[in-house]
């Protein structure tokens, strides 16, 4: 299988506020403390849009912005893959509530924000990026599916790809049927060449495996991994943070996993 270099990482979750501040925690050198997440502001959007976008959009844009700020590249030239299990449930909840009311007053803004590719659309507009972009879901396997799609896109086009994986807790009453314990978003800037100045070099297993997914030693971090589809990428982020040769087995669905080798 071809190599895939990680050039930059963006990260946002309770107790994991940005990649620089999180590396020691993920490498096991500092304890994980699930502190409340700082507010995300989506500074890349114009003020009027900033007020209109939801927490889900802000979360996705935050990590995309953090990753791109780590390197000197025009984000307008970078292909993107956005992966999320459930998309923007806050917006879908508002629409479904409106549909229970007389005359069903669905807000036009909520309707256009309800598409799964809303963060991708806002990102493209903010960055002036006309490059291809894909938005996908594979339920609890969304991190692994996003990583595969981003890798395939990077190799096919021999171009960098920014992968953004995010999920946000659902509002009541949907939350009773889909438990996402905390917000989690990660962005990986991927390069299809084994370039020197990199955080890690990944090798993806060509087929799904049946070996059990990695669990994390820290119980709070493990609760996050198991409780948010985007956080199912945490074992890989830990391997990258350790900066040693390692291997991560990521949960895909109840039967299969994806194995990823990471070397510095």
């Amino acid at each position: 299988m071809n190599p895939l270099a990680v050039e930059a990482v963006g990260l946002m979750a309770p107790g994991l506020a940005g990649w620089p501040a999180s590396q020691a925690v993920l490498a096991g050198q500092q304890p994980y403390i699930a502190e409340p997440m700082p507010a995300t502001i989506a500074t890349l959007l114009p003020a009027n849009e900033r007020r209109r976008v939801t927490a889900t959009v802000r979360l996705a844009l935050q990590v995309a912005q953090e990753a791109m700020a780590q390197i000197d590249l025009d984000a307008g030239t970078i292909r993107t893959v956005f992966a999320s299990s459930g998309g923007d449930s806050e917006v879908l909840d508002k629409i479904c509530v409106a549909l229970t009311q007389p005359d069903r007053p669905v807000s036009p803004t909520h309707f256009h924000q309800s598409v799964h590719n809303t963060p991708a659309g806002y990102w493209a507009i903010a960055m002036g990026c006309m490059q291809p972009s894909l938005s996908l879901s594979a339920y609890d396997g969304s991190f692994a599916a996003g990583l595969r799609e981003a890798a395939a896109l990077a190799w096919a086009d021999q171009a960098r790809v920014l992968l953004v994986v995010y999920d946000q807790p659902l509002p009541f009453p949907l939350a009773e049927r889909r438990k996402i314990v905390a917000p989690f978003a990660v962005a990986l800037l991927l390069n299809p060449t084994a370039m020197v100045n990199r955080l890690a070099l990944l090798r993806l297993g060509p087929s799904a495996t049946n070996e059990p997914a990695d669990r994390l030693d820290d119980p709070d971090l493990e609760r996050l991994r198991a409780g948010n589809p985007a956080a199912r990428g945490l074992p890989l982020l830990c391997a990258i943070a350790r900066r040693l040769r390692g291997r991560a087995v990521l949960a895909v669905d109840e039967n299969t996993t994806l194995s990823v080798e990471a070397t510095p």
């Binding site: 299990s85 669905v106 799904a208």
Partner: protein, 398 residues
Amino acid sequence: MAIQPLAIAACTLTNALGRGVAASLDALRRGESGLRFCDFEDTHLNTWIGPVAGLEEEPLRGEFAPFDCRNNRLARLGLEQDGFGAAVRQARDRYGPDRIGVFIGTSTSGIGATEHAYRQCDPITGSLLATFDYPHTHNVFSAADFTRRWLGLSGVAMAISTACSSSAKAFASAWRQMRAGFCDAAVVGGVDSLCLTTLYGFNALGLASTRPCRPWDIERDGLNVGEAAGFALLEWAEPGDDRVLLLGYGESSDAWHMTAAHPEGAGAALAMQQALARAEIAPEQVDYINLHGTATPLNDAAEDRAVARVFGPDTPCSSTKGWTGHTLGAAGITEAIFVRLCLEHGLIPGTLNTRQRDPKLGAGLVLENRESVLRTALSNSFGFGGTNCSLLFGRGNI
């Protein structure tokens, strides 16, 4: 060098024109629309829709009962037509069930189940009915999950959800993931079903027409929401392959506006140019373009600019939305299969319902059906968020 083509080994399509590809071909030839005045559930909307008949009476049962919702009923109905299941079973024996990927486009998946659940929630606690099953119905992945389980496939699977380009982009993803070695063959498709979210949403945006939609017409005033399930089994083309082939794909982003297309169609033009470049085919070699052609005033104008810029005024093109309505996340697969039918049967469909072409539009619009030998044809799909995808198909051995 041109990309390695993918062959369509089998396909199936169910929409307002009927069950199976023959129903679509027959209606295209006869010029018979599947659109009717909106009578969906208890709506009171002055618009037209493209519904699939009979879904209300055909619930999913047994091991698939948790998936029961209009969208997965439609997926099942689609998967049962045209011998598609048998074709996938043969492919499963050849490639292995874990080596056939599943790439399904949908915009709203089974959100209809959530709409119903919210209307029936507990009046005191606000909780949803115990029977409501979020992961198997509402969640975006449900459409892909149902498809892979129904077909007995266990390889890579994902739902692509980029609004109305979703199931066109499924072809591009399948090509890439096969190329990467994540799978050796692919089931691509799209499933989107009528629901209150899209009907009232397009109405709120002022984009739903009160009449059957009229793409490129001087009086065009909006789209009609339709529903469809379509699937195709893709494998690498062999030398001398005489099947219909995916020769190229192009994807781009408008980077312009969440709902309005770029006025000059800059992103759309880029997608078409990249599909041509991947296939190493010149614009003048394209014999027919199936337009996205939703019949909203701005979308048609933007696509027209793009088509006219890339192809000039002579390449025959038409929108088939007057037959099916806009099937949203299933529009890409619907029109990819239409293009396959056109290539195989030498048919250029007209633009149903359109009477007087908007004189400001310059693309080579075809109003009436015509017979013609076709070697290559392009299909356009564009969506909210400024997402664009063009697919170029051709007959093998061209």
